[in-house]
Point group: C2
Chain length 397, copies 2
């Protein structure tokens, strides 16, 4: 039987699909993949930090010892020993987390999608930081909420702004540690105020924490989750502390919500790879992260220092930027009249790239901002690239 | 900072989440996991067919030779060499499929979710077979369509029923080969008629084909995809021919639709595991499936024969069942007055289980039906279990 000669379908997408557009970042990344481009645009962790040999040994061990179970369908909420391990690692003296509160996801991006699926109706109010993580805005926008932007300063979200704007909100989405895109951290004083404000107003608080372990000095600040496990939904990820390509994350939520999320995940993709979960458990179960994470911190901290120093040397007065205490990003604010998208066009012509700030705003973009990532570029190239960007900014001052 | 004493959130789910319920099958599976139960309820492939050593060698090779790339973020549409391989394997003399038509997914279940996300509005009409695959009904129901059930007989879907009921439908979801749950195959004569009917009416046809390669004799029937690549969306999976626990499937669709699906996938989980895709490519690239699939066919065919023979011997007159030409399932129809859910309760008390037919119907369930799977139970246990069920049926005649 052969191909028939039929009229092609005229595709009509759902209303929600009309909201979708390709990430501005992914479009830029395509341009910046040319090897001659010095790219500060990526959000990728450095492959230098990937424990390839450990991962290889773990996959091998799991498949050798337990291959049939690792390759069979598994439970929707995930591999129990891994969930137990995560629960233990998130528990504090006065806040015990149990495995029943945890569901494994295909990256924490999936957690965002499932949360919106289960909690957001068309027109539901979602509070977001200003600016916010682009991937979250994308995930949520499919469900057609109303985004309300909450004020932020160098100490992170301003809790009074949540109180002023949050009435009736379905969710508040926050990235309290070394935020993507700004690199900012929510101060310890504000954490309690934010948690209390959201609880008082009945607003579930999403604590997205992919970078939280990557503090350059000291220890991570207390988690919002541990301050109010009944009102905070925590998203964790192995992408930045192990490797991202395996797509493994998790969410922690009150049990009635987890059960509903589990139903949603079952309908969405049944479960996350059994093999991947077992291999990651094998890698981390004996404390590997305690030795591995400090090496990532040292590496990223040194890279960040190189970039900050180069910026101080090359960026003219009138330009300001954040000084992150961890994570992967620096946020730059130009004088109002300079449009970072136009600057990017010139930069690309000069073989250097960054991400303009506009797409990170849910409302009223500040077009004089941009994001720099320093983790995948060598110190020499950081200096060269920042010098080029500095010259282009000066020419526009 | 310690846990605060705050009022817990009163969770209110989205309207779409209220549609969600746990799969009836998953609930039954929990009961049937007791080792003394002979379970024909599962939909799991037999782990005897998993090429564990091959998978182990492939993961090892990929991580040894290309570890950093395998563990890094990857493109949303998938690993290009694997997409090229799939495109080649689906191409026929007069229907060339190109990699740009293919997107890798986290199991074909994710394909169902993404298709509904991108094509279905509340109230959109979706045509489904009678009965249909429960996982598809679940995936679609989240988006609150109107299901319209299309007639089916032993030759599969009746195309005239599509013509009669399909006006204005957004989708027709079909499982033409060894359907789950009935084991039925759409006859070769009807394939062309169905494809033409859908094209004439402008209805996109989803061809879900997880079992298509598992024909017990001869070669698979022509794919609907190859008869009309402009109007058919094809869902493929490695779950039944390799292993399910890795969660790897793919969808083939016209390029404008694939681009929109790619945006939806990006917002949903960024991409499917790079490592898994590279390892599966390593397993299959030199023709392994051509030697492996026949061994699964022989194994399942022999298991099916054992069950059919036992049924002939033990089931009383008035009970009918399908005789599958491939796949994993037999569908049983009891006299009208016997409710298969009640029969199941008695069966479980006798340590044998199956899945009652009700949940597989989008509308007007025929409660005198049930599904049997024969692939994970030994021939001795098949005989023992069927004999028990036969006795229970006779007692109710």
């Amino acid at each position: 039987m052969s191909k028939l000669n039929l009229t092609p379908i005229n595709w009509k997408f759902s209303e929600r699909a009309e909201q979708l557009q390709s990430s501005a970042i992914r479009e830029i990344l395509k341009v910046t993949m040319r090897p001659e481009v010095i790219s500060f645009a990526g959000g990728l962790p450095s492959p230098e930090t990937f424990p390839v040999d450990r991962m290889r040994a773990a996959f091998d061990k799991v498949l050798a010892e337990n291959g049939k179970a690792a390759l069979q369908y598994g439970p929707t909420d995930g591999y129990t020993p891994l969930r137990q391990f995560i629960a233990d690692s998130l528990s504090t003296a006065d806040c015990k987390i149990v495995p029943e509160q945890i569901m494994m996801t295909s990256g924490s991006q999936q957690g965002l999608d499932l949360l919106a699926k289960v909690l957001v109706d068309e027109g539901s109010k979602i509070l977001v930081e200003t600016p916010s993580y682009l991937g979250a805005l994308q995930a949520f926008s499919v469900y057609r909420p109303e985004f309300v932007s909450v004020e932020m300063d160098n100490d992170g979200v301003v809790p009074a702004s949540v109180a002023a704007k949050g009435e009736g909100a379905k969710l508040f989405y926050a990235l309290p540690n070394f935020q993507n895109p700004t690199g900012r951290t929510l101060s310890i004083e504000r954490r309690q105020e934010l948690v209390e404000t959201c609880a008082r107003m009945g607003i579930p608080l999403i604590e997205d924490n992919p970078y939280g372990d990557l503090c350059y000095s000291g220890e991570p600040l207390p988690k919002l989750l541990n301050m109010n496990p009944d009102g905070v939904i925590y998203l964790g990820s192995f992408s930045k502390i192990l490797t991202p390509g395996i797509r493994l994350g998790y969410m922690v939520a009150p049990i009635p919500l987890i059960r509903k999320l589990e139903q949603a995940k079952q309908a969405t993709d049944l479960h996350t790879s059994t093999l991947t979960q077992m291999a990651v458990y094998e890698v981390i179960k004996d404390g590997f992260l305690q030795e591995h994470i400090p090496s990532i911190r040292r590496f990223y901290s040194a890279q960040c220092d190189v970039m900050l120093e180069a910026m101080t040397k090359n960026f003219p007065e009138g330009v300001t930027w954040t000084r992150p205490l961890g994570g992967m990003f620096i946020w730059v604010t130009l004088p109002k009249h300079i449009h970072s998208k136009e600057l990017l066009d010139e930069a690309i012509a000069n073989n250097v790239a960054f991400v303009p700030g506009g797409p990170f705003y849910a409302n009223e973009a500040e077009t004089n901002t941009f994001r720099l990532s320093f983790v995948t570029v060598s110190p020499e190239k950081i200096n060269e690239g920042i010098e080029k960007i500095g010259k282009l900014i000066k020419a526009r001052m």
